[in-house]
Symmetry: C2
């Protein structure tokens, strides 16, 4: 591999490691366990699970991979705070949607060459990107990896309760 290919592959590997770890945790929870909060009065595990799903779904258009697959999840898991929406999807529903969204997302990610990673993402204007070329697709991937790592670490607090 060339240097740029190795750098891109290392970042993708980090994303997938964090993703697989979170998937293992959330997929292993029963519907009852999903209702546990990460700490007293804090978000429930089901909310973090759906929140990660919707944020990753939104990566599809941001990385120009494709259209959103689950825009209907924005309301319960992004716009509204936990507790404000009475009927959340079941664990089985979330697992099915998670698998679908990440299959499409990771297929797109796996198809990116290094030049694709340093390209503009769709939320930044051409002018802003010209002024700051670090506002690229890799920055989105790394930002979402950190977001995932954060909520995973919070979820661990509940799982170990």
């Amino acid at each position: 591999m060339t240097i740029d290919q190795t750098l891109a592959a290392t970042a993708v590997q980090s994303w997938k490691m964090h993703l697989e770890r979170a998937e293992k945790l959330f997929f292993g929870l029963s519907d009852a366990e999903l209702l546990n909060p990460i700490a007293p009065g804090r978000n429930r595990l089901v909310y973090l699970f759906g929140h990660l799903l919707v944020v990753h779904d939104a990566m599809l258009p941001i990385l120009d991979i494709g259209a959103r697959r689950r825009p209907e999840l924005d309301a319960p898991f992004l716009v509204e705070a936990d507790g404000n929406v009475p009927d959340l999807p079941t664990g089985a529903d979330l697992r099915r949607m998670w698998t679908d969204v990440h299959a499409v997302l990771n297929a797109g990610i796996d198809g990116f060459a290094p030049a694709d990673w340093v390209a503009k993402h769709t939320l930044v204007s051409a002018d802003d990107f010209a002024a700051n070329p670090l506002r690229n697709r890799l920055a989105v991937l790394l930002n979402r990896t950190g977001h995932l790592a954060g909520h995973y670490a919070q979820a661990l607090l509940a799982r170990r309760s």
Copy 2:
């Protein structure tokens, strides 16, 4: 910038963003606030602060930047769990050591060219690295960025209490 330079700079930017965010949170806490747990019965903020510091100090030899500067912090913040060591450093001590360690660490990081990032880190053998070139310095940086993001997200739970 070339593609490999942009990729490396984007990863370094992500590291520094996560670092600055955590520094702002931890540096803003009083000694009394540092003794708050992130959740009932969980690690205290002072422990997370020192733990991040010691893990980042250990990056110096792993990235081949230099020798550890604070190996004495391993006992209270890495080997022992929170609560097992009675006399922890004060907030002022931790802030001073944090600033020192990260000045050296980030000076080393800023000096890396893309080829340095895909080089072997010091914890992997030459044979293992030959078999898997993704066990490189960038993988260490991304792993530690995720670690930092996780503990930062946990610390937010205490701060907002």
